[in-house]
Symmetry: C2
Subunit: 461 residues, 2 copies
Amino acid sequence: MGALELENGGVIVPCCFDDDEEEVEEYGSGSQGSVEEAVEVLLRGLGEDIRREGIKKTPFRVAKAFRDGTKGYKQSVDDIVQGALFPESGLNSAKGHAGGSGGLVVVRDINLFSYCESCLLPFRLVCHVGYVPSGQRVVGLSKLARVADVFSKRLQSPQRLAHEICSALQTSINPGGVAVVLQCWHIQMVSDGESIKSSQNWSSVHVRSTSGTFDVQKSDLLEDFLTLLKFQGMRSSSSNHTNGRVIKPWCPMLSSTLSLSPCTAPPMIRAVTSIIRSIGENPNRNELVGTPLRFVQWLMQFKKSSLGINLNGMITNQNDKCFDLEPVLDMFSELNIPFCAQCEHHLLPFHGVVHIGYYRSKIQDAAIGIGCYDRRLMNLIVQFYGCKLQVQERLTRQIAETVFGIYNKGVMVVVEADHVCMISRGVEKLGSNTATVATLGLFLVDSDAKSKFLKNVVECK
Amino acid sequence: MGALELENGGVIVPCCFDDDEEEVEEYGSGSQGSVEEAVEVLLRGLGEDIRREGIKKTPFRVAKAFRDGTKGYKQSVDDIVQGALFPESGLNSAKGHAGGSGGLVVVRDINLFSYCESCLLPFRLVCHVGYVPSGQRVVGLSKLARVADVFSKRLQSPQRLAHEICSALQTSINPGGVAVVLQCWHIQMVSDGESIKSSQNWSSVHVRSTSGTFDVQKSDLLEDFLTLLKFQGMRSSSSNHTNGRVIKPWCPMLSSTLSLSPCTAPPMIRAVTSIIRSIGENPNRNELVGTPLRFVQWLMQFKKSSLGINLNGMITNQNDKCFDLEPVLDMFSELNIPFCAQCEHHLLPFHGVVHIGYYRSKIQDAAIGIGCYDRRLMNLIVQFYGCKLQVQERLTRQIAETVFGIYNKGVMVVVEADHVCMISRGVEKLGSNTATVATLGLFLVDSDAKSKFLKNVVECK
């Protein structure tokens, strides 16, 4: 089998996608055990020693997170809604527009996450749901969020998710109509020659789905609903507003051009296929056929030593090299260097920016144009340590130690990151983020330099 | 027993706070059943028919929400942390400041809620945790959020909560030091003569707790930590920054001056005392002694018909009264009328603003100074329907219908509210909020007027 390539969304289906009975046997067919074994295959494919302390429980954690994150397959909308329909007099008993005086009900800004059916990575979304009560009953407000949550905890595309939420509410509540608007954000990786960095620009999309009275041509209901969302600062006129049509693939992996080694890929792809099967999904569903390949492509970016950077050749002690006399040192900083690493505990990305403060002589600037050199060097160091299975604390320390090997008077590193594992697992702490600091040399004793560096970081935002 | 009054935080302890064996028997001592019975006592005290459709399952829902919301009493920090300590070489094996090059680790912006120990209402908080790893190990980042969650799901004051999180992390991880900063927001009720409205200004407080190396006088660690929080726009110099001391009572019920009827209060107070006991708390703990009284005081603001407003006297049809000829009608609006209601499904507040659009003749303005009259009238109507056990859909409809009784050409009402029950129960959808609309008369057919009104609402933000 040759190298497997995906270009502009085109998927070359390799032979291992065939429904192979033996393979199902190999990973079981639904038990958590099978997911754990599949994750072990992936870790080995990444060149990792699966007995290493940090990752030896990773298969267990990944299986648990994946099971929790896709529990929507086992949940019933009717169970959620049936107990929470409350009679309200004053509403028209017939279906229709604002029967009696009971009109639109909107729950806005429901924070959720879902799993991208194209690449298996979690994506974040904000959901807005509106409906028109009818039949003299209203549904408990929290149930709108609960139902949205059931469908978001499945493998989804934004548009499919909006349709499923809308259709389930229409069927279970039987109201005048339902409208759903989703704003979704997907992590992006930009391959930039040898280095791979996370773009600060998320791939985002804005979709909607409507039913019942919202679909009536001459009704203002949909407009009223969108206006109510505007109350919260939502720009319904934004350029990625698709009116239900997604113009370009929203999942960045659909237009990825990364290639895979033919040796490691098939077992890993089979492992991912078995994970998809284990949650009750059909790996042969059209939208899922290329997913195992894309997920493996994503993962393989974090293969141990996959970056061909020989830092040894670049790293020489600049302080030693350029000065015979004791130099006058100044504090410099390289700020907002983007990175995307893979959390070794959960096999999920964490990404953000690195800020590096360091001491060197100003004279070096003029001498060897070292400013540009520094930026490029620091960027390479960040990519080298960032683009693998990592923990943020270690990444911070490794960057600091490596830079200290070059500028050995003093180094301070701040890494700020969002952890997808913090967002999408049981914790579900949306909006939380992590900062780590490493300090070496002069920064440990020079409070002023430290303050100045941190102030630089604050001001560069 | 005379009327029970609380003034400026002073608590008059009534005789019914004595630990009465019979009373414990009456409500059981820990089973969910006892909480349900206690909630029934509260509902009866509020003048409600507990067989009414909307509230007949409220005791069950309240008991469940209270049990979920205080499950932190049953959780062990050691269980959470022990499995998630990971060895990291490069860290100093001794405790201390940034051993090796591993320094500060900060998880910021953890969204949580807790229960106010002074009044039993949930309050919202954002938690920031920092620690300095030592002993060559780090803790899984999500565990910092998990531990904060354990202590927030108990009856707390902000300062106690900060201390407990800090102390538990120090003990379980045994790091160089721990720092915790909390920003907390408590709902406020402002008694304004006859009408009661929720102030848009939350009672807020900003507290912190530190241990280990963060407490070393000459260390910059605490300053570094606070600077890292500033990255996220946190103003550590805000006026309510208390440096660990709370100057005025943060719980508004501690300075409430509302009085209670001596007949209904004691059974309700006993019921609340039994709820506190059922979650495993000691109702005789100093901070909890006045809590049942304060919670009942809070609740009794929503007693059925507790507001002595006779709307009938004020509501006459202004359109009919002032005109013999067909008047030229204009659209007027009263925006941002604040309210605080009690969700009848969960016995928890929902609060926000009401916007009312209506048609009347401009000529009436000059004739009877009707502009001021309208504002006062609409405010009274909102308080009358808002200040009781409610659901938002009904509140919206009732306001619309009542205003339509006065200005019967056309009325449109938008209610925007935050539901504490959406935040603090299983759903935990922080940041979500609800908008409901009722439309009557000309607004149903005049799209332009509707758009103009909604535009007014958008622009008044």
